[in-house]
Symmetry: C2
Subunit: 352 residues, 2 copies
């Protein structure tokens, strides 16, 4: 691999850095003065135009145009105690499932006039706690959290904030407020049953990711054994998952754990893809000698060869459903259900 460097340079072009004006911002007061009305009328013109006469409305809009007035939502939120801000906390936006959920969630929220404050919690619980406090200080109208495990202090703060809280990507019978997800343990068990029903008696797991990925692998392993399969070899890595990890995973299973063939359940399609690549390098026939099952149904999964058999979860549905649950709670001060199980499905393709 040879590399060609290009253009790594920086130039100084002055810019407008020097003279930033100390300008007092333009407020509703300013606009009102220009339009010959009081500040409140400007406020009304913006929040409920029907309460203002067409003539003054026109003058106000003209003044807004002239001044380039942008309302101060901080002041508005302080006065009304409605921030129109929603907090969203996910482990990582580079993980495509979380990115997909957030995108869907945000889209629905934006369409309803809300803005998202997004933070990544990484994979440590203490980090989440700090972030929750930071977010709460902005007085969001609701909060979206990933997963159902949160520190006691975090739960206390959340309860104290007295806003709708939706936990996504997992379910529990005792959500803080409402949860939207699926059972990770059920997923692992269903895959074990699928594998067993398809005649596989030897199995391995390649897992990389958070605690939920491990939970799926564990449930798979237990069920597979209970069905009479052999002990399940597990190759486990820290998050994040990658194609490289998948290749290493198969190598580890075969070279260090005596796994010689059968089915491999991976905690993501990216890993499954890596297993597939490594299998081809080793001249293994898929699904003849080695069967592979992934998780997540990434957009490439149906288009690689062999196409990946996987577990599909509808991330967009999670995001949308979570958004709707939140909106319902914000607007009606209540919500119908507190546990929304969106399930999953096994998609059989060529790899298993």
């Amino acid at each position: 691999m040879d590399e060609h460097e290009h253009n790594a340079a920086s130039r100084d072009a002055g810019g407008r850095a020097a003279g930033r004006k100390p300008a007092r911002g333009v407020t509703m007061e300013t606009v009102g003065r220009l339009a010959g009305v009081s500040q409140v009328t400007v406020s009304r013109a913006l929040s409920d135009p029907s309460k203002v006469s067409p003539k003054t409305l026109a003058k106000i809009h003209e003044a807004i145009e002239m001044t380039g007035f942008v309302p101060n939502a901080l002041a508005g939120a302080l006065a009304s105690s409605k921030s129109k801000l929603i907090s969203a906390l996910v482990p990582s936006i580079r993980n495509f499932v979380y990115a997909g959920m957030v995108q869907a969630f945000s889209a629905v929220m934006r369409d309803n006039g809300y803005q998202i404050m997004l933070s990544e919690t990484g994979f440590e619980p203490e980090e989440e706690e700090k972030l929750i406090a930071a977010h709460l200080s902005r007085r969001p109208d609701a909060m979206m959290l990933t997963g159902i495990h949160h520190s006691a202090q975090a739960r206390r703060m959340l309860l104290g904030a007295d806003i709708p809280v939706v936990e996504v990507w997992d379910i529990t019978d005792s959500p803080i407020d409402v949860c939207v997800g699926f059972s990770h343990a059920d997923t692992g068990r269903a895959v074990a049953e699928f594998a067993h029903a398809n005649g596989y008696r030897q199995a391995g797991c390649v897992a990389a990711g958070d605690e939920r990925a491990r939970r799926r692998a564990r449930a798979f392993s237990e069920r597979f054994k209970a069905l009479g399969g052999e002990g399940v070899a597990i190759a486990q890595f820290d998050a994040p998952a990658s194609l490289e990890r998948g290749r290493q995973g198969l190598a580890q299973l075969m070279d260090a754990q005596g796994f010689s063939g059968g089915v491999v359940f991976c905690s993501s399609d990216l890993l499954a893809h890596g297993v597939l690549v490594e299998a081809r390098e080793r001249g293994l026939q898929v699904p003849g000698q080695l069967a592979v099952i992934g998780f997540g149904d990434q957009d490439f999964s149906a288009f690689v060869t062999p196409a990946i058999t996987t577990v599909r979860v509808n991330m967009e549905a999670f995001g949308q459903s979570a958004a709707r649950a939140v909106l319902e709670r914000i607007e009606a001060q209540r919500g119908d259900q507190s546990v929304i199980d969106l399930g999953f499905e096994i998609v059989r393709r060529e790899s298993a």
Copy 2:
């Protein structure tokens, strides 16, 4: 492909939805009363503890602990006109380059006490304009934008807001404030030169993505022709890129545009991967009959077979550099450079 549905159900478990208290929030006033001091002292205890005696400090913290007080950052921001909020606008967080940039940007910002308000602009300029207005109303301390093309109205609002603005992922000699990126045209030209130098005389492009992807393809095409190569066939798709699009791209090039072999420059590694898969299906030798060059150096690119020759841009560096530029401007009210070109490099692997 057969599918097995699982658990798609929802249950009602009551939750705490019913009784949301109308409780007046706990403020610094409340805390102060409990600690036997005034509200201001509580404020000081939090913002500059050295200005408060150890004894009262202890009492205040005790009161905070008891009440679960969380400061109201909205009020703080209104009073101090420092929101400690940074706006970030990207086309899509599901695109791994943008996700990577945002992650790096956010990490640096968070370490400096700032929080990120993130929105996706999609690929329409009017959408960006609306979002800029919405973000500005929250009075962010700075704003990060993707790309250098913004509507006139957007520029006006940004200038009027009088906050640091950093444009990432592209460069121009006339940034709004500061830009951090690389030249997309130079990238296309460099790839053309690389391809020509390696003996390829026939070429195609597969492009899917935004205007910048098209700019790279166009620059590649022009340069390739200028160097004496043949006319370049182009298969173009709307964003987003996917493996499937890559497969379709090669198919279109070969079946509809008479491309029979040579080098294919793709606007992302995902597309390149698709081209590779399609090439294998068609029994084409890579890089013998078909050479493939991608863009972005995704994490799988080095690990598929053949490993993908690609253009690497350091997304983390963009995010970090953008963050530093912003911090510099916030804190010093100025910034050294206004154009930061971080360049790119061609990474040769097996596919070309």
